[in-house]
Symmetry: C2
Subunit: 192 residues, 2 copies
Amino acid sequence: MTSFTIIGTGNMGDAIGGVLAAGGSDVTRIAHAEAGTAPLTGDVVVLAVPYGAVDGIIAAYGDQLAGKTVVDITNPLNFETFDSLVVPAGSSAAAQIQEKLPSSSVLKAFNTTFAGTLASKQVGGLPTTVLIAGDDTAAKDALAAAITAGGVTAIDAGALARAHELEALGFLQLTLAAGEKIAWTGGFAVAR
Amino acid sequence: MTSFTIIGTGNMGDAIGGVLAAGGSDVTRIAHAEAGTAPLTGDVVVLAVPYGAVDGIIAAYGDQLAGKTVVDITNPLNFETFDSLVVPAGSSAAAQIQEKLPSSSVLKAFNTTFAGTLASKQVGGLPTTVLIAGDDTAAKDALAAAITAGGVTAIDAGALARAHELEALGFLQLTLAAGEKIAWTGGFAVAR
């Protein structure tokens, strides 16, 4: 059984924690404000915070993240313009985080599923699907198993380079919801 | 009623032509090999060809595309590596085409829907949805109306800048299908 520490107490942290706990995983929650002081007991650390908060968490925990799987769920939008991402063109938040944590296995996941669809486990009648990108296959498999055990579908979306595409999808989905083209309980479903 | 000329006789041209004709639009088909010799009778020209063939069509028709709506459906993948796009990072095939056709209204559409889901008009039980990006709202509205009349959902996905995200989505979807994570009759459905 995989043990998780989720940093962040927002609705995404709640939804992810709910899925993982439902699947029998050991889940510990840490508030963003406690970063650096609360211990990282999990093998997998989920950064369920906005992209702008990630650097502070990395600084706070330093070497304690080495050897762990780190899950980046962020959509690094410029939330003032809603018209671009704040990461370099062609790159991704996940790639930037992996650069800063060379001894961790960074995975991109949960950025293409709204909290509501993780909680309900369905999108438009189809099973909610978490797309996972990363270079560490064993880490991806462990996360996928924990998600699947919690009643949500997981698909390996490829190498960490595909985080660029996952973040584009997350960006697009946010603009569609903000523009009221889709509901926050809807979005992109995956039909297999 | 909008009149369409579709260049390209592949399965995407067939599927798009089928939807538009079902909606009562006037649809003319031109084979890629006839580009430049067959007349562009439609107000809207759909480039239903691979990205690598677009430049030749633009050269063959030259000024005849001016004043028309040009619909780019391409996914500009590097099909040798299946690991990147052949357009500059942060840009899109559609933006590149718009640069080459400054007197046309370029729209991005149909690159996120497989031919099979346009033909069946459903993805995993949800209505097939064509995402349209472009800077010309009237052109987008006309295309959306023609698609909707044909029994397929259309959503305005924003400015032409969003073609980057649509192409990322199309790229991701192609890698998932090529990797047998999803079927060619499946893919991303849009739940509203």
